[in-house]
């Protein structure tokens, strides 16, 4: 490659503190980046992607240290350089875009003030120049009303817009290198497209080099020139994007690929009518209707997937079914019998029949309780189990979710990995012996290999215990993997519903078509083609 070398990292070792010992997080990884090149870093969570990305700035998180190796940025030795030198580089020549723009912006300042801070501080531009530049970059990032949006506060713009504003801010000093740490992971597919397109466009326009960290292969395929695969702090393989997609060498890389191909044939609706029916439900908070006349059925032993972008009312529908939110009009039927709109008025048996699994297992499990208590409590409450019978039940449930009972029964959630926590959430739902489980984005916080394990587990449990699932998701790959029927929602209304294969096959409702087209494919040309098609459609 003719381009000049920008970043050179050799034999990087980073350690994290665990009590009194130092454990390796990154164990001897090399990384080279040329000017204008985009390198994709992929791997499951805990592989050390973010740690390596931060190390490219010469930075480590609290409680970590760089134990060995050399980092050289454009000829400057970042490990040996004094703090003042590193500070001058950061923001000006190296920028960082974090996963959650909402958490990274200071909510008390306007976007443009935060934009101007770095260039003015580093003496690159005056305040007026920086403001004019911000408007220009906002326009290039295809933000609506570029000359006005900067004067809003972070909470006044949407998540996707915020992520683009963040990228614009990182661009403010025209850095040589930007590190993107999962910038689209928290966004839904249709928003993700906008952000990906904007990032790709701006990086190409300014010839900026970038490190793009993600666990989504299809995304990295669109963004990166080269891909490096990490596993437990070591490099598995590195190759140009096309070469790696065409012929992954390592076994582990192939297993990453295989996840997306998980698919089960859709089954026809079961006999005997729906177990839960949502009938003409309108509901909302305050004076605003989030749901408008929504109806759908959950059939016994079947999975209905509810899809739609964030804010479409998917989770609100689940809250109405569980009784957390009383519908303004309409009813929820269980076995043909209406359920009380408020969960406090429902019988204990009604509560037992409908269980919920949450998106974030971190907040769904009480951190001060042991698994014995978390999983045992529903069995104790609903089934009256005590003493040894209860312990046996908890052990059986732990075995069901593939956690070794003796080793885990007295652990607390903080001693488990993300995937294990989600499994505990499943066990807690199962402990009530319900007929219906509502799964609210249960896999979206997990990386793909863990996701696959959870989906397979849910599928197996459905067969064993005759469960009905309502699966709320924005990931259509998940839908393909386990759903029998699909409900597509937009702006609080159902736009299309039916058996999965019928919904996925043309003709589509316009919104369904857009949703389907937004799911990234592994083909590196996919984003380009999609944007071309869109331009043609508009033009």
């Amino acid at each position: 490659m003719a381009r000049a070398e920008l970043l050179r990292m050799r034999d990087i070792r980073i350690e994290g503190r665990a009590g009194d010992a130092w454990l390796p997080i990154i164990d001897g990884v090399d990384m080279t980046l040329h000017r204008g090149e985009v390198l994709g870093l992929i791997g499951e969570s805990g592989a050390g992607k973010s740690t390596l990305g931060l190390a490219a700035m010469g930075h480590v998180r609290d409680g970590c240290r760089i134990a060995g190796g050399a980092i050289s940025f454009d000829g400057i030795d970042l490990r040996a350089a004094p703090d003042a030198t590193r500070r001058r580089l950061r923001g000006r020549r190296i920028a960082y875009v974090a996963q959650s723009a909402a958490a990274s912006f200071n909510p008390a300042h306007r976007l443009i003030d935060q934009y101007c801070e770095a260039p003015v501080r580093h003496g690159v531009m005056t305040r007026a120049e920086a403001e004019a530049d911000a408007v220009d970059l906002y326009a290039r990032m295809q933000l609506p009303e570029p000359d006005r949006i900067g004067w809003r506060f972070p909470h006044q713009v949407s998540g996707g817009q915020l992520q683009r504003a963040m990228t614009a801010m990182a661009m403010a000093c025209r850095p040589d290198l930007i590190i993107f740490d999962e910038p689209t992971t928290a966004l839904d597919v249709t928003t993700q497209i906008e952000v990906l397109a904007a990032i790709r466009g701006i990086v190409a326009q300014f010839g900026t080099a970038a490190i793009y960290i993600t666990h989504d292969l299809a995304v990295v395929a669109q963004m990166a020139d080269r891909i490096k695969v990490l596993l437990r702090g070591r490099e598995v393989e590195e190759a140009p994007t096309r070469a790696m997609l065409a012929a992954p060498r390592a076994e582990y890389t192939r297993s990453l690929w295989a996840v997306r191909t998980l698919e089960r044939a859709a089954r026809p609706p079961s006999e005997g009518g729906a177990v839960v029916s949502v009938r003409d439900v309108s509901a909302g908070y305050g004076g605003v209707d989030v749901l408008r006349g929504v109806s759908f059925d959950i059939h016994p032993r079947r999975t209905v997937a509810v899809v739609g972008e964030s804010g479409s009312g998917k989770s609100t529908a689940a809250r109405v079914i569980t009784g957390l939110l009383a519908p303004r009009t309409g009813r929820v039927l269980f076995d043909g019998r209406p359920l009380a709109p408020d969960h406090r008025k429902r019988t204990r048996d009604d509560l037992r029949q409908v269980q919920m699994i949450y998106q974030s297992a971190d907040t769904a499990l009480n951190p001060k309780h042991t698994l014995r208590e978390i999983i045992g409590r529903p069995a104790q409450m609903y089934l009256g189990l005590r003493g040894r019978a209860l312990t046996e039940r908890v052990r059986a449930l732990l075995a069901l979710i593939e956690l070794e009972p003796d080793a885990h029964i007295d652990r607390r959630p903080s001693e488990l990995s993300g995937g294990q926590k989600q499994r505990v959430g499943i066990a807690r739902a199962l402990a009530a012996e319900p007929r219906v489980i509502l799964c609210d984005e249960v896999t979206s916080a997990l990386d793909q290999i863990v996701q696959e394990g959870i989906l397979r587990l849910l599928d197996r449990l459905q067969g064993e215990f005759d469960l009905a699932y309502m699966f709320i998701t924005h990931d259509l790959a998940t839908v393909r993997a386990i759903a029998d029927s699909v409900v597509v929602m937009q702006h609080g209304a159902v736009v299309e519903a039916g058996p999965r294969d019928a919904v996925f096959a043309p003709p589509h409702a316009p919104y369904t078509a857009r949703l389907l087209a937004s799911v990234p494919e592994m083909d590196p040309d996919w984003l380009g083609r999609l944007l071309d098609r869109r331009d043609a459609g508009q033009g």
Binding site: L351, Y358, N366, H369, R377
Partner: protein, 307 residues
């Protein structure tokens, strides 16, 4: 006494304290096991010093009749007797043995402060968590009531209540507990409001759990760390409040020995350059510092800071 001597004495006190704290930690680590042992091993010396002082105070309070050379109320010598072999710290304005009264004072002052703080916490925490869990009008009613109580300066409010209900030890405990419970309520409610929005609380509600279980099993364990820290601080405030009220003559009534009233009763001696009346005040100060050392350590642990 020259500056050099003073510095040497201070250095000696600090070194002695550090050495005692170090030995105390070693003893605690040897006697404990498991998670407790691990956390004790990481305890800073200040916290160990604090724990040592608290342990000494408790020992003195419990063993007061055995340790004190004379009775709490017995007039055993002349008024304002100087320090001597018979009366280590001399005698007070009625001729009672100062050292004995200081020892009994630990029992009265510390015991009452502990009972008061415990009561304030039981009431304040329960109401605060209840308000956060139930929310709505209950939260509004309780919080506004507490706001009204907090709007009145606490010392004046306590003086008012004590004047109305009279000054027995029971009313003293109840009045200070009532005043302090409002502060505890505020903290408990604020902490719990961050917890009740978590999904695990929603899951517990959906399971059909009752209010008591929600408050004490689901919310309280997660709110415990800041509340424990607050307990330490509150204990000091209560301690000072009792001493202040005693000093004003509305707290623990004579002839019961109490550090606050001991300072007042013997205050005249200060004019003669005698430090004896300040010893009870020093005892209060030392305990306050000790408790705060331990609280700082617990706060540090609760905040999850490792480095």
């Amino acid at each position: 006494m020259g500056v050099a001597t003073l510095l040497a004495v201070m250095a000696g006190v600090v070194l002695g304290g550090a050495a005692a704290a170090w030995l105390f930690r070693a003893a605690l680590v040897a006697l404990s096991r498991g998670a407790l042992r691990r956390s004790l091993r990481g305890a800073p010396l200040t916290a160990c010093f604090g724990m040592l002082v608290i342990a000494l105070y408790l020992g003195v309070a419990i063993l007061a009749p055995l340790l004190a050379p004379y009775g709490e109320r017995a007039v055993v010598t002349v008024q304002f007797a100087p320090w001597s072999a018979d009366h280590w710290l001399g005698s007070d304005h009625l001729g009672r043995d100062m050292a004995s009264r200081l020892i009994y004072g630990a029992r009265n002052t510390v015991g009452i402060a502990l009972a008061t703080t415990a009561l304030a916490f039981m009431v304040g925490t329960t109401l605060g968590l209840w308000a956060a869990v139930v929310g709505g009008w209950l939260d509004g009613a309780l919080s506004r009531a507490v706001d009204v109580l907090m709007a009145i300066p606490s010392l004046i409010f306590a003086l008012l209540l004590l004047t109305i209900f009279g000054t027995s030890i029971l009313t003293l405990v109840l009045v200070i507990a009532a005043v302090d419970a409002t502060r505890v309520y505020r903290i408990a409610r604020a902490v719990a409001q961050g917890i009740v929005v978590m999904d695990y609380i929603e899951a517990a509600r959906l399971r059909g759990e009752g209010g008591a279980r929600l408050i004490f099993r689901e919310v309280l364990p997660n709110a415990a760390a800041p509340l424990v820290a607050e307990f330490g601080l509150r204990f000091c405030f209560v301690f000072l409040a009792i001493s202040a009220l005693s000093f004003l003559g509305l707290g623990i009534q004579p002839p019961t020995a109490d550090w606050g009233s001991m300072v007042r009763e013997n205050a005249t001696l200060i004019t003669f350059g005698d430090v004896t009346p300040l010893l009870p005040a020093g005892a209060i100060a030392l305990l306050t510092v000790a408790v705060n050392f331990v609280v700082d350590w617990q706060l540090h642990r609760a905040s999850g800071l490792r480095e």
